[in-house]
């Protein structure tokens, strides 16, 4: 992973000192709330229903065991002993006092982590594949470029007061695990004639007006990455709408101008700056590449005997089937830790669990942990021969539910239990669904199915791109839920279709179960996934059954 140098560390210290001064001025009344709010947001500090919330960035999803322990310590010392992993490779602490925030930030800065630009109308944490550097289907490690973008975008003097927030995601693998098409800018790394570059899409996003990003450049050579991004951001900063907060994202600008006209404007701006100071020559890239310390993996063979023996245990085999993914290095595997135990809030981890996971990462995974947008954790470098022992230890701390990628691996926002924007609660719905779908054999039979829940139209739970999406709405102080079907978040991203009127909180689990039963009845074989069946059949047969009178 990237190791901070003196420069990065000194910068973080200065950031903490600046925020400490701003908090003091706010508490002394020298800054009013209107002036202070954007400043605290730019440090990841929200004011939620019950308390301040601190959102801490996990840059492109990579964490060291030491950093995870520091998060556990912050959870214990300043919060209530747990944290919530989000869909954008961040962690949130829900109960921190404003007056104590500078100290919490100083503690995190000690290990090189922070909440800078995890909120506010600026360039947010660049996200990428949680399996970066390990995935078997990867072209190159995208984290180098994510780090290049982190540095360029951090406190960018021109782009800190944009019309609205701005999210960038990169993938470098055949399978897009970073949902790049639903980001303001999506970068797909690939090689053309031996040269590394990017397909660039703009204007994707969920929320109130969901859009799939449009490609504006087929191939951007790597050395031009920053100048091209600067051209996009300048076009947006000068031309994006500021008259209406709901129309201020770049997706609206792209939509209103048309992707082609937008691309032309960007290209014209880029022509002026592409050979300037942002050019990423070899020295510039190497200076950052050299600071990535990647583990020296042992030379091992695939499928060791101890693993083959363990696979005879059906429980282990079931977990292995959905939680273990192929690695680019022989004899190794990528292990996903489910933060979706039955009956618990999706994505939450206690301080004790974080410490235990950090210890296991040290023991079994070269001290490195990843955070996935599905709100799970990943150990990217595990020896296959260690899998049985690791599994037993993961089970003991409640992170080995064999449901990764299955119906109970639910993405959910915090909803009305925490969030000041929410209209309905997400967590209780997720809890009830995981309880209904608690049978490991049954969910394995249902197979791959992404179920996403958002507590309001802002879509933090990515309901639009769930195979089944659930959106909470409020009618006369009662919670209702709209159901969408057929959404996808990968490289063939599409927005789910609303299947009918919203249903009450009491009905939502039954409706989901009827959708699943419809699939089980109509699938051609167990090899046909839920989403494939929806695409083949259309939504009509599902709608009919979902709303059938009981």
């Amino acid at each position: 992973m990237y190791v901070y140098d003196e420069f990065d560390r000194a910068f973080l210290q200065e950031r903490v000192a600046e925020f400490r001064d701003q908090v003091e001025r706010r508490l002394a009344g020298e800054l009013n709330e209107e002036e202070f709010k954007p400043l605290r947001l730019m440090n990841g500090v929200y004011l939620q229903l019950h308390a301040y919330m601190l959102r801490v960035c996990i840059p492109y999803g990579t964490l060291s065991a030491r950093q995870l322990r520091a998060m556990a310590a912050v959870a214990r010392k300043y919060d209530r002993g747990y944290g919530h992993f989000t869909t954008r490779q961040n962690i949130q602490f829900n109960w921190i006092k404003l007056a104590e925030l500078p100290d919490a930030m100083a503690d995190l800065a000690e290990v090189g982590i922070h909440g800078i630009q995890t909120s506010g109308n600026c360039i947010r944490n660049t996200t990428t594949d949680p399996w970066a550097g390990a995935a078997a289907d990867e072209v190159e490690d995208p984290r180098l470029y994510a780090e290049v973008i982190r540095q360029w975008s951090t406190l960018h003097p021109e782009f800190t007061y944009l019309p609205r927030k701005f999210k960038i995601a990169i993938t470098a693998a055949k399978h897009d695990r970073a949902a790049i098409r639903v980001h303001d800018v999506g970068l797909r790394l690939y090689k053309r004639d031996g040269k590394t570059g990017f397909e660039v899409s703009v204007g994707g996003g969920l929320g109130r007006s969901p859009y799939i990003g449009k490609t504006i450049r087929d191939f951007l050579p790597e050395e031009d990455l920053l100048s091209y991004l600067e051209a996009i951001l300048r076009t947006y900063n000068l031309g994006g709408r500021r008259d209406n907060i709901y129309k201020a994202r770049i997706k609206i600008q792209v939509h209103e101008m048309g992707a082609e006209a937008f691309a032309q404007k960007v290209e014209a701006e880029w022509a002026e700056i592409r050979d300037g100071a942002l050019k990423l020559d070899k020295a510039a890239l190497d200076a950052i590449r050299d600071r990535f310390l990647n583990p020296a993996l042992e030379e091992l063979e695939d499928a060791p005997a101890v693993l083959a023996a363990a696979l005879a245990d059906p429980d282990f085999a079931r977990w292995h089937a959905n939680s273990v993914a192929p690695h680019k290095a022989k004899g190794h595997a990528i292990v996903t830790l489910s933060l979706k135990p039955v009956g618990a809030p999706p994505g939450d981890a206690t301080a004790d669990q974080m410490d235990a996971i950090a210890d296991l990462a040290d023991q079994y995974a070269y001290g490195e942990i990843r955070v996935a947008h599905e709100q799970n954790l990943t150990l990217p470098y595990v020896r296959q021969k260690d899998l049985p022992a690791l599994w037993a230890k993961l089970k003991a701390i409640g992170v080995a539910t064999p449901n990764v990628g299955l119906i109970s691996d639910i993405i959910a926002c915090p909803g009305l239990d925490y969030c000041s924007l929410a209209n309905a609660r997400s967590i209780p719905v997720a809890q009830k669904l995981t309880e209904r779908f608690a049978d490991d054999a049954r969910i394995a039979d249902i197979g791959r199915l992404h179920l996403n829940i958002s507590g309001c139209i802002n879509a933090c739970g990515h309901h639009h791109v769930g195979h089944i999406g659930i959106l909470g709405v409020e009618k006369k102080d009662e919670e209702f839920f709209q159901i969408t079907l057929g959404g996808k978040g990968n490289s063939k991203a599409r927005i789910g279709e609303l299947i009918g009127p919203a249903v009450s909180e009491g009905e939502v689990v039954d409706v989901v179960e009827r959708l699943v039963e419809t699939y089980l009845d109509l699938r051609t074989s167990p090899a046909e996934t839920f989403i494939a069946a929806v695409q083949r059949l259309g939504t009509d047969p599902f709608k009919e059954r979902a709303y059938a009178p009981r």
Binding site: V3, Y4, D5, F7, D8, R9, A10, F11, E14, R15, A17, E18, Q22, E30, E35, P38, L39, S64, G112, N121, Q151, W152, S153, T154, L155, H156, P157, E158, F159, T160, Y161, L162, L226, R234, N237, L238, R242, E272, A277, L278, A283, A284, A287, D290, R291, L293
Partner: protein, 170 residues
């Protein structure tokens, strides 16, 4: 409106003149509309001229006049409206404007360093305390990741100077 110029408190020598008012002697600041309508007479006038430029208008329109303008004042209607940062960089870095680039409107100390990095050298603060804290605010950071036209050393400059030092887990 306490003015800070080149890092020190400064007296504002420019009189802001309404569009329908006669021009007084001495340095004046006029609106973009008036400036463009009367540009030829204004730049020929004996006395410094400045223009108050709105943040929704393309600064490229100013290109023919930049060498004759003493001040371009860019506006921040709300400090959260950051269009003038881009305008400032274009004026300085692309069009080579050498005169005073003044930030006006909702100008606060917490944005002063970013404004300076974008090319502003004069700041019409709303609060006297912010004007007094200007130099402290500018010293908030000594480390910058990305290049602008301000000439401050960036991460890359520092690192290339220290190339070859191996990273340690820290």
């Amino acid at each position: 409106m306490p003015l800070v110029k080149n890092g020190a408190p400064a007296e504002d020598l420019f009189t802001t003149v309404a569009d329908d008012a006669a021009l007084p002697d001495g340095p004046v600041l006029v609106s973009a509309e008036r400036f463009l309508k009367e540009a030829d007479t204004l730049v020929a006038r004996n006395g410094e001229i400045g223009v108050l430029w709105p943040n929704a208008r393309d600064v490229a329109e100013l290109k023919p006049y930049l060498s004759r303008l003493s001040v371009v004042a860019l506006t921040f209607p709300k400090f959260r409206d950051g269009r003038a940062y881009s305008q400032a960089r274009l004026l300085r870095e692309r069009y080579g404007f050498k005169g005073e680039l003044r930030a006006v409107g909702n100008v606060l100390r917490d944005q002063a360093l970013m404004m300076a990095r974008a090319g502003f050298d004069a700041f019409a603060f709303e609060k006297a305390a912010d004007a007094e804290a200007f130099n402290t605010a500018l010293a908030t950071y000594s480390h910058f990741y990305q290049p602008t036209g301000d000439g401050r050393a960036t991460a890359r400059d520092v690192r290339v100077a220290h190339a070859g030092v191996a990273p340690v887990e820290g």
